[in-house]
Symmetry: C2
Subunit: 150 residues, 2 copies
């Protein structure tokens, strides 16, 4: 296993400091970062086909207070919103990505805003760990677990 590229960016603001560490080939890292942005777009667009395609066929997701959910059909069912509800904002920030051959782990934080039927907005944030797999040259999520930040 070679680490072709290791980027450490330390971003300091007046309020907080955090670091981003991406280890692996630039092409793989860029591919995963791009897929992360695309996933937020699919969520905001309620593009369930592409949400499903973002995961491997045998992927597992781990929503709080639920059993492990496995496979494209059940994963799409989980993400499918009730009529009249939409996601107005969705953003993922990866703190670390490490490529290990055709697999990778990734952790970071997310935030979003849900627009409810009654017009009210609910904002939320959390943290996640994803295990990615490269399937036929395409990085897809294999394990996706998250929980809230208060």
């Amino acid at each position: 296993m070679k680490s072709l590229l290791s980027i450490v960016l330390v971003i300091l603001t007046s309020q907080l400091s955090y670091s981003q560490t991406y280890t692996g080939g630039k092409e793989d890292i860029d591919h995963i970062l791009k897929n992360t942005v695309l996933f937020s777009t699919y969520i905001k667009d309620s593009n369930y086909k592409m949400i499903g395609a973002s995961y491997t066929n045998d992927a597992k997701i781990f929503p709080n207070n639920r059993d492990i959910i496995e496979g494209t059909k059940d994963i799409i069912a989980y993400w499918t919103l009730p009529d009249g509800v939409s996601i107005k904002h969705h953003k993922v920030v990866s703190n670390e990505i490490k490529i290990l051959g055709d697999e990778a782990y990734d952790y970071g934080t997310y935030e979003g805003t849900t627009l409810l039927k009654n017009g009210k907005e609910v904002s939320w944030k959390g943290k996640y760990v994803i295990v990615w797999k490269k399937i036929d040259g395409i990085w897809k999520m294999y394990l996706d677990i998250w929980n809230s930040i208060k």
Copy 2:
């Protein structure tokens, strides 16, 4: 990356079916499985020194409704129980472990019982993803995230 060993055990009961898939060298798999059992022992014994030593120095844990907690000191503080509270039962079942060189991912379920000050017991269960790292020949948890199963 070689998969020296791939074990698939399908355990069928009258109520449920689940599979355990362990991919990697037998020594590494056994080491991680042993550490998983030991971790439950440390939790039940409130052995905070060994709980801390079960994680890498730069480990991150992801408890629900909290920020990411990083490093041995803060991780031990998280696991430290209030006086008079103890963990009577703690068990982890790994559905999959995959060794990727000196790193590995692992997911599965856990269950436990907390004995409260007033003598009452509270049982709970959940699911987890762990990223392990082999540090000086010892497998330790680097990322540890979990959430509840209702």
